[in-house]
Amino acid sequence: MSLTLKDLARESALLRSRFVIAVALAFLLAGMLMIRLVQLQVVDHEHFQTLSRSNRVKIVPVAPIRGLIFDRNGVVLAQNRPYHSLELIPEAVSDLGATLAALKTIVAIAASDEQRFYARLKSKRRFESVPLRLQLSEEEVARFAVNRHRFPGVDVQARLAREYPLGALGVHVIGYVARISERELQQVDAVNYRGTDHIGKVGVEQAYEAALHGRVGHQHVEINAQGRTLRILSRAAPVPGKNLYLTLEASLQAAAERALGSESGAVVAIDPQTGDVLAMASMPGFNPNLFVNGIDAETYNALRNSPHRPLFNRTLHGQYPPGSTVKPFLALAALADEYEAGRKEIWCPGWYRLKGRAHLYRDWKKGGHGSVDLERAIVESCDVYFYELALNLGIDHMHRFMLGFGFGVPTGIDLPGEAPGLMPSPRWKRANRNEVWFPGETLITGIGQGFTLATPLQLASAVASLSARGRRARPRVVDRVTDTINGTVNTVPPMFLPSVPVTDPRQWHRVIRAMVNVVHGARGTARRSGLGITYRMGGKTGTAQVFGVAQNEEYDEEKIDKKLRDHGLFIAFAPADEPKIAVAVVVENGGSGSSAAAPVARKIIDHYLNHRPYQHPPEGLVVSGDEPAARAEERAANAAVRRDSPSAPAVEARMRRPGDG
């Protein structure tokens, strides 16, 4: 670049002139502002001063009433309960200490109430009402009313609080509301939330926040010089939130939670025809009512630090190795691919070895299964058969086929933050771990171990699709949305995903028959859970390793810490020919799928098919077959139900609607 001295000088002069103009421009704009302000503050001062003095009409937002949440039959899951709170306007109280002391003689005020009051006091303006005690009893309200003249600036206010009448029941699906945070306020329309101080934090309460919240209203009120409201002049009513009817069935949800009992685990039950989530339980749960008006730190930390992780929604966020529950799906892949496995029998000696390698891939059954065909491999859950099947299919094919059942991708349920699970492939491993894929990894993918992960929801959705012969309804939890003002009902139609590309009905039939024999067959891994069954149920057990057992060691449940014990899994559907319900059960550290998870699934399906309270009254508890054992077990489970929920009979009693008598 050649720059002459003359150029430089010219450039410098040009820049200087532009800077001078810039400064002049800034002064000009500031002058414009000054003119405007002189106009407002000097010329029109009288006018605005009059307006300001007569500014006695204030616009106050009126919060809308939050929509209610019901189960599919109209059982109330979330409602708004009126309550009375004792509130205090700081500027109107001359001696705060004396007033508090005098109030304590009338109304019980705990030290924690007082602490919270002082904390709130700091962030409120002096003429704003600050709550001192929430949830006054009728007696306390009456007692205060008599003494009210002694306490200027103190008053009882009627408010609405969110309440979950069934406590912990279905808490992870329903979610809860809690005080809105500063960050959340930035994420929503601030005008619409003026006057609202709660917002949905998890579950349906969060996912359907926009529908549940409604639209803010406002009223013009006349105030005096101290800012106190004198009277209401006009009012634009708020638009209340919409009511939601979930696909959940409260009694089935209760049955599912009872069936898991004190175990940590998850259950998802889906209607295969529509994708309706009938029950979705993650145990242990917690009581959502604790969160509504602020949970104390101690309780919250206890919940958060509990090794059983009650706040964690296992159904959506828990990712487990699916274990042998993948076998029916892979069997279908093999049949659809016309891979000869569909016809051939193989010999299972109890182990499998890749050509030219020393490593032994073992079968869960030490002596082996002997001669096995496809059906028997599913019924007895033969690992060796599926090692060979996986090797013949190849990892890419398995990956593609399993994706078609929704493994490794979110199901698209209408709840926030669903985990995607993982269906591995060589490309995934290259991209995420920068390593090559080993043939041995193909083998263990064939029995649902290794990298493979699935959420209980994904398992339930996949088995629902399988039971419906490939028709895939997207899981959903909200069935209909009703408008409380004009009474319109918006039914959310079921959504369907691309069907599984297996068109030959015989192939579906073979796999489903094998799954039926898992429960009904003499050698089925879940035959014990099939005792006394009155309908035909298909299922598949699975066991997910929590830690690896060395080559020459043996897994011995008795010797292992409960924390390291295998997860038990079970997927099931019934009735086999015309499925009405599909279930996935995961029992964490429960041991094997057949002993821990299958009985849970059986209880849930029994409840759904034999004993639905809105078709038969709950009193007519008819469980067929092996009564004494099952009853005793159920009673034991009932006794052990979660500490923080109403007792089971209470739940059932509350769930009965007036009309059902």
Partner: protein, 363 residues
């Protein structure tokens, strides 16, 4: 001149520092009143100010040649982040502006407020000034791309600021007057087109500017109440903590975008004159520093950053006093909030670096 003071060794400019300190101090005073005498709020803002001044000091230490060499990369990175926001950003208030980084949210459009003038200055400083028409067109593309990306989020206020920060570089570089007038005419004739592409809420804002009686809970109410607040303040104001409009809760957003109305109500025209004088002092001193930097890149960048700061304040005051439509920009250094504070102080840090490193550069 030979002895260098502490401030010079720290690459700081004392008069500018005093001006900035004065404005932030006034900000804290009025925030105490606007926030209902909430000390916790005041502490939070004080902490943010400390952080922002710290950032300014850090930026002042970076030698201008580093800014210069990194400019194209930083600009490209900024554009990439804007694209990322459009693809994966968080949706807040119906607009995608935030990118989540670990636990805190981050707004890439803030960075572009500095990066756009930096890139345009970098590009124009390559050749002798004034720039040719061809180079002006290229520079215009460098400005328009990020502007459109931010307008997509949609964040019209920031998009306009960024466009004008780039425009200031072009103006300072000696773009010919006939071209400047042509651009102004072209923009004005595009106004109906802009209306066509505006979002519903943006049209609503323009309509309420024309007729504030609509939308009683929204921006129309804001403007009515803020004009009453300022007008009733009169010449001397109602006195600190005595503004009825703000203390009786008539004035919305009085800690953030409408803090100027509280100032006007409580301190009157005289107070406002002092405040505007303080802003003008910062701007004049800033432009003086920018003028006296070593190279063309520094002059263009420094000048543009200072002018953008002024426009920021001008738009806010104009909007609060009913001269301009509500665009939702805070009053720099006064309004409660941290995001824009950091950008403003970072750009003053850059300015101090550009100015104070010139002796070191010359040998």
């Amino acid at each position: 001149m030979a002895k260098s003071s502490n401030a010079q060794r720290m690459h700081l400019d004392v008069p500018l520092l005093l001006g900035l300190g004065l404005l932030s101090g006034a900000g804290l005073v009025v925030l105490y009143s606007a926030g209902g005498q909430d000390t916790a709020l005041l502490m939070r803002q004080g902490f943010r100010l400390l952080v922002a001044f710290g950032i300014m000091v850090v930026f002042a230490q970076i030698a201008p040649r580093h800014f210069f060499h990194w400019t194209p990369w930083l600009y490209a990175g900024g554009i990439g982040l804007l694209l990322a926001v459009l693809l994966v950003g968080d949706i807040g208030k119906g607009a995608q502006r935030w990118l989540r980084l670990g636990s805190f949210n981050f707004q890439p459009s803030e960075m572009l407020k500095v990066l756009v003038p930096m890139m345009v200055a970098y590009f124009l400083a390559e050749r002798p000034l004034p720039p040719s028409t061809g180079r002006i067109i290229t520079a215009a593309v460098l400005i328009i791309v990020p502007t459109l990306l931010i307008a997509q989020q949609p964040d019209l206020g920031t998009a306009l600021l960024i466009a004008s920060s780039g425009g200031f570089v072009l103006f300072l570089s000696g773009m010919r007057w006939w071209l400047i007038s042509a651009v102004v005419v072209a923009v004005a004739s595009c106004a109906p087109l802009v209306w066509f592409y505006m979002h519903e809420y943006q049209r609503l804002r323009v309509l309420t500017f024309l007729d504030p009686g609509k939308d009683p809970l929204g921006s129309g109410y804001h403007i009515i109440q803020s004009k009453i607040a300022i007008g009733s303040g009169g010449l001397h104001g109602k006195g600190w903590l005595n503004g009825t409009q703000s203390q009786l809760d008539f004035l919305p957003e009085r800690s953030t975008d409408f803090v100027f109305a509280v100032f006007g109500e409580e301190f009157g025209l005289l107070g406002i004159a002092c405040l505007l004088a303080a802003y003008l002092f910062v701007v004049t001193r800033g432009l003086y520093l920018a003028m006296n930097t070593q190279d063309v890149f520094g002059k263009l960048l420094g000048g543009s950053l200072v002018l953008t700061f002024f426009v920021y304040a001008f738009i806010n005051i104009g909007m609060v006093s009913g001269l301009l439509p509500v665009v939702g920009l805070p009053l720099p250094l006064i309004s409660y909030g941290g995001t824009s504070l950091v950008t403003v102080m970072a750009s003053f840090g850059i300015l101090m670096s550009l100015h104070s490193h010139r002796r070191l550069l010359s040998h």
